[in-house]
Structure formats: C-alpha cells, structure tokens
Symmetry: C2
Subunit: 345 residues, 2 copies
C-alpha cells in the first residue's frame, strides 16, 4: 500500500545522512506498519541502514547527486534529475510512496514538488504550513513563506487546505479557523482580509470560522488554524522563534548566575526538564507544502533525530489520512460558490 511507504531524501539537511537515519530508526520503532524508500548515495547509506537494523524495512534508491543547502532553486531545477531530493519527490508522483520527506534546501524542495506533483485543481498558489506550540496544544499557521502575498481567494483556499490538514495531523474533528489581522474588530484591516472573512463565513463552505485573530492569539491557542499571507506568516513565526530563544537565554543566565540559583535549578530540574521538552523546537518540526497532488514534508535543516522523527510522523499521518480527498471536495464547494456568485451578478 503506497500510503504505508514513506520516501526519504537521506542526503538533505545539515547533518545528513546520519541524523536522517537516526530519526528514521526512532520513527520505525514507533510505527511498525511503515516501510521506507531511502534516496541518496548507496555507498554512504547501505552501512548506515544496516547498522541501525533497518535493512528489512528500507529500500535504498541510489542517486549520485545532492542539492546543497545554499543552492538557488533556479540552479537546482536545472540539475534536478539524478539528485536524491528529486528521487524522493518522484516516488510520490509515481505512486510508490504516500509522502516524501526532506530536510534539504527549502526553495529547491518547493520547486521540485511543484514541478513533479503539480498543483491540485482549484489551487492557484500552494501554501507552506508551520506547527505553532500553544497554551492548549498546537496550531497550524499557513502560509509561512511559499508566497509573498495572497488575495482573498487564495486566503480562502489556504483555510480549506489548512482545516483538512489540521484534522489529519491533530485529530480534531472540526478544527477552528482564524484570519490573522491587526485588530479583532470587524471594520479594521486590509480589504483583502474583509473579503476573505466574508467568504469564510459562508455556511456552504462548512468551516468553523471564528473571525479575525491577532498575533498574540496564536500562542494563546485561540484557534486551530491561523490563515495569513506568506510574508506576514513568515515574519510572525520567526519573531516568535526568536522571542522564545531570547527568553531561554535569559532563563539560562538567571539559573547559572550564583551558587543559590544553580542549586535551585538542580532541585527544580524535573520541572525545568518538562519546560525544555515543551519548548523543544523538534516537537513541532515539519512543514508541508499544501495544495499539490501529493504530500511533501519539509523538515528543518538543523533538526535532531527526534525532530526528524516528528516530521516523519507528520508525513505518516497525512499519507494515511483522507486529507487529499477532503481538500478536493472543499475546493469544489468553494468553486461552486464562485460560480453561483458569478451567475447572480
């Protein structure tokens, strides 16, 4: 069953292939139903797969070339074939795997995915997701950088895709949706947002739309899915990541600045360990380029084995869910609405 095969770009990421294979080992132990296509240089991978006891569950697919982390997408496109990243994505296209995962060059992965898998009918612009830790769990934010802008139709598409995605990976039956704005009042904000909000309220779309949310509502867990354009989403996500790092630095200083503080930190170590786990970026690793005819998951390039396993779990949940069908029917409903509106004019 293609849904139970994951296709892995073993050469992508700052510490590939070692971290990739370590993450694969963690994931493989947790989800015995999955098998793997491992794309990359066979000479570098065979021993690594064997030493981790994964030989029976992995099919090594040899590709000589590697896309580097700093390569421009346009250059990468010209030499796509023969690379491990292209091989991993093509396995999804060919129906050999239910999802592909790479920790490599983001721009190249987006370009390869669009070229190989193509956009779904009704999607003008795919959107990149991020998982955001919240006080109540996790929220999906999209778009976080696949596009620089988004018009109201695209925001509606993002909401439909984001809702189906959140259902597949968070297990919530009816995820709530918010539109990111700079005030929760109806009259505020850009015209694009007003138009999108109006459409998202239409009962025919079948969405649980909760209206506008502000930046601080994301970590407070106000909604399950936060819809925004790629520029705003990317800036907000990175500002939040930087802030979490700033506070962690302050905390480290506070707990190492004197003997009493150091001893206190030692006594509180079980609580502090839980804090570290909660703030661990690997818990929320994995972004997905939604809107393509197939699932591709982007892992952070600097993630550790646990983070890579998180990205694999995301890919596994999506591959074995009804996400693609749900997006397709959601988009069909939205496009019916458009037709009716046009006919009424």
């Amino acid at each position: 069953m293609r849904g139970l095969v994951l296709s892995i770009d073993a050469m992508g990421g700052d510490a590939a292939p070692a971290i990739v294979l370590d993450g694969l080992k963690l994931f493989a132990a947790r989800r015995p139903e999955f098998t793997f296509q491992v794309h990359g240089r066979a000479d570098e991978l065979t021993a690594g797969v064997e030493s981790r006891g994964l030989t029976d569950r992995c099919q090594i697919m040899h590709h000589e070339d590697i896309i580097s982390m700093s390569e421009k997408p346009s250059t990468a496109m010209r030499r796509a074939k023969g690379t491990s990243m292209w091989g991993a994505v093509q396995a999804v296209k060919l129906g050999e795997a239910g999802a592909a995962i790479s920790a490599g060059n983001t721009g190249a992965l987006m370009a390869f995915s669009m070229l190989s898998l193509r956009k779904m009918d009704g999607v003008h612009r795919p959107a990149m997701t991020a998982m955001w830790p919240t006080i109540t769990g996790r929220a999906v934010v999209l778009d976080v950088g696949a596009n620089l802008d988004a018009d109201s139709d695209q925001l509606v598409t993002f909401a439909i895709m984001g809702e189906a995605y959140a259902r597949a990976v968070t297990g919530k039956t009816k995820p709530t949706i918010g539109l990111l704005n700079i005030g929760s009042e109806e009259e505020k904000g850009r015209d694009t947002l007003k138009l999108a909000a109006e459409r998202l309220r239409e009962p025919s779309l079948g969405l649980d739309f909760r209206g506008y949310v502000e930046g601080n509502d994301i970590p407070m867990g106000a909604v399950d899915v936060v819809v925004t354009d790629g520029f705003t989403g990317n800036v907000a996500l990175k500002a939040a990541e930087g802030t979490a790092r700033l506070v962690a630095t302050y905390l480290r200083e506070a707990l190492t600045e004197g003997v009493a503080s150091k001893m206190g930190a030692l006594m509180a170590s079980s609580g502090l360990k839980k804090l570290r786990t909660k703030m661990d970026p690997s818990r929320v690793n994995g972004g997905v380029l939604l809107g393509l005819n197939g699932v591709v998951v982007k892992s952070h390039g600097t993630t550790d084995a646990e983070g890579y396993a998180t990205a694999l779990a995301l890919a596994a949940d999506l591959a074995s869910s009804r996400y693609m069908e749900e997006v397709a029917s959601g988009l069909a409903r939205a496009s019916e609405d458009d037709d009716l509106r046009e006919a009424a004019q």
Copy 2:
C-alpha cells in the same frame, strides 16, 4: 522651558487616574527638572496630586469629558474638545509642554495628535513605534500599526524618523537600521522592499543601513531600528508578546509542579527575579507616533506605575533631545535626493 514640561492625560488608561499619578510620582522623584500639566477632572485629581506630594510640580488643567477605551476614533473626534486627551495634546501644540503622554484609547490618541499637531513637512504617513527587548538591549520597531501598508518612500521616511528617535531615547550615536523581510538574500522579497533597500543604501541619506533582517533577528538585537509596514510590525510584535507570555506560563507550571521544584524556585529566587525584571513589559512601555509637529507618547492601557514612569521617561528624553530637528534635516536630505533623481530622468 517647554522642553521641561510634560503634559499628561490623567484620565486615560484602564486604572486611571490612580496608576497615572503613581507613575508620575515615581518619575518626578527621578527627574527633578521636570514639571507637569495634569489634564482631567479637577475634583478627582486635586486630592490625588496632593496626597502624592506633587502639588508644587503639577498644574491641574480641568476637563470634564473623558474618551473611553472602547470608543471608535470617529466618534471620539466629534467630541474631542472638552476631553482630557485633547487638552493634553493641545498643550504640545500651543507650546506649553514638550511632550504629551496618554494611556488612553490608541485610535483616538492617534487621530487627536494628527488633527492637533499635523504632519511634519515631507511626512505622508506618521508611524507608531514600539520598543522591543533584545539580547543586547532594546530595538525600535516601526511602524507597528499606524498604517495598514507602506510604500518604499514611506519606509524610507520611517527609517529616517526611527533612527533619530533611537538616537534620542537609547543614546546610541549612530543607530543601525534593518528592513524586515522574509530572507536576508538580496533577491528575495516584495518589490516595495527592494526599492526601499536601494534608497536606504544611498550615502547621501547618512544612515547606517544593514540590509534585510528577518523576524528572529529582532529579539537577537541584529539592528537598533527595524523598519516595516504597520500590518507586519503589529502582527510580529503581538506574536512575540504572546510567545513571551506562553513561555512564562510554561515556566510558572514547571516551578510549581512539585515540592522539589518549588523549593528549587525559592533557592533560585534572586536569579528568577532578575529574569522577571528583564521580561517585564513595563520596561519597554511607551510607543510614539513619529512624524508629527510635536511629541505624543502612548502608554499601554493596562500598564502599572513603573510602566507609566517608563513612558514618561521616554517622553522626557524625546522632549529634551534634538529629535525633531534631526528628522527635519533627514527628510530634507531624502527629498533633495528625490529632486535630483527626477531631474536626472
């Protein structure tokens, strides 16, 4: 000297006038050279000023009406005269005070300030600032919500105003400037940003422009002044505030979850107290609407006395600085460049 008089809207803010007067008392003790116009209901203010030992340094200016926190700016505008907020701003316009401070309704304060003080020559859109705590100190971010958008000329104006402002309030001789984008590479980003970056690099402007910065660069202290449009700036600021609150909640849970953690927290209390101080929002309270013929400082509506004193210090630093002259000459240089460019075409 008007520069040494501050004009205070004593009725603005969630806990006005008590918190306002408490903050005033703190500030007055630290800066003996300043005196104050205190605008609001005389019957409510006289006793409060007296009980805090401030009678000699305060002139109470009676106004019967108050703008409420939830009032729409358009409604507030119709009944501006006779309110404490309008009175406080007018004192700057009339040259009786060097700066006005209010913790009241933000939208109304912006509208009143623009109506009363008018925009400086060469400024099409004023911009709201925020102070952002960073690993190395503080950064100024603007615009954080006065406008929904900004074109490249407006971004250049924001940079000029933000630089002069940062010099006045942080004491840095040559503050560095960054333009907020979603990648630090030259080729990335919206055309507006590319145009603005090109102009900010022109030596004739005399700015220390460091190019693009990303969301995570703000808390890392990469530059002293971060320039962006009001929508992006507002979302980023609130996402960061929410994240800091999220981490603080996690930390509180971690340090109260068992006897050992509680005792540890007690032992580490001196370190943790410093952490609390560093993360205290009152340390960075005070936003300024830059680009008007006069200084108006907006304090957070929910701030405490210490936070209000911080906003007063910001107003004092600006009022006694050369900020207005510097902005005027910076804008003149930018407009000369424009003329030359047009002549060359």
